[in-house]
Symmetry: C2
Subunit: 155 residues, 2 copies
């Protein structure tokens, strides 16, 4: 009531709902990762490395949706604690390929179980069709937002 059509109604805004969903998901993940002494970014980094070994700092940052500076801070801590290794010298250029250590892999395994439980809870009550529908719609939203990125950028 009031403001219909004029602007952004929070009750019916997909953007607001997306933010809410993301917030709830993050809380749920933090809750199950906290007992393991791990943050969401921490977990994301390890999971990325497990699935794509040898990723660089910048690539990890993009994959975890943080800046490379933030990821660098995290990587230094992970390296110090023996979860990942990076060569002292760059094999080519300045890129330092990062890899999980056995310790990092073990740590990730426990985290993955926890995170999967959250993912499953989120999907509870959704049919397979709905899940692929959700997947398709989210991809479309991302693409629409990205291509029309900056009004004056390119062309």
């Amino acid at each position: 009531m009031g403001r219909e059509g004029v602007g952004v109604n929070l009750e019916t805004s997909l953007g607001y709902l997306l933010k809410e969903a993301s917030s709830v998901l993050r809380s749920a993940m933090e809750e199950v990762l906290r007992p393991l002494g791990m943050s969401v970014t921490h977990y994301s980094c390890l999971e990325l490395l497990a699935q794509r070994p040898g990723l660089s700092n910048s690539e990890l940052a993009r994959g975890a949706f943080v800046t490379r500076q933030s990821m660098n801070v995290l990587l230094q801590a992970l390296e110090r604690d023996g979860y990942v290794t990076r060569p002292a010298e760059a094999p080519v250029g300045k890129v330092l390929p990062t890899r999980l250590t056995p310790r990092g892999r073990r740590s990730l395994e426990k985290a993955t179980v926890a995170v999967r439980s959250v993912e499953l809870r989120m999907l509870a009550g959704m049919t397979g069709t709905e899940q692929s529908e959700a997947f398709r719609i989210l991809r479309r939203m991302i693409h629409s937002l990205r291509d029309g990125n900056a009004e004056t950028t390119r062309s």
Copy 2:
């Protein structure tokens, strides 16, 4: 490749996609709000007050998905700059109902135009059916994550 079934595959994880969508949306909003000297939380607060005048600090915090401490810092700045007003004394209890000033309303109007353009861009290429489908699915995800909140996840 690798890890099929074992754990969380980032390529097919709805959670990861949700985080990506949220990240892209936030970037897009920051981009259009920056010229107005406004952050996303800043805007969210004003929009909440426009649609539900008299909200308290804690209620605003929940609506903007931050802690009441963070919202309090923002409210103090907004009050200092004349965008909102709060009574010096609580009419009842400790709750201080907040309201937009005319200046706050003018500021919000410009921001709303900017944010709506982002919302429209995100919805571009989606039919009305798809939009309501997205709405339904997101609500379901939120609900599934919230009710099984407790660690024991009801048996």
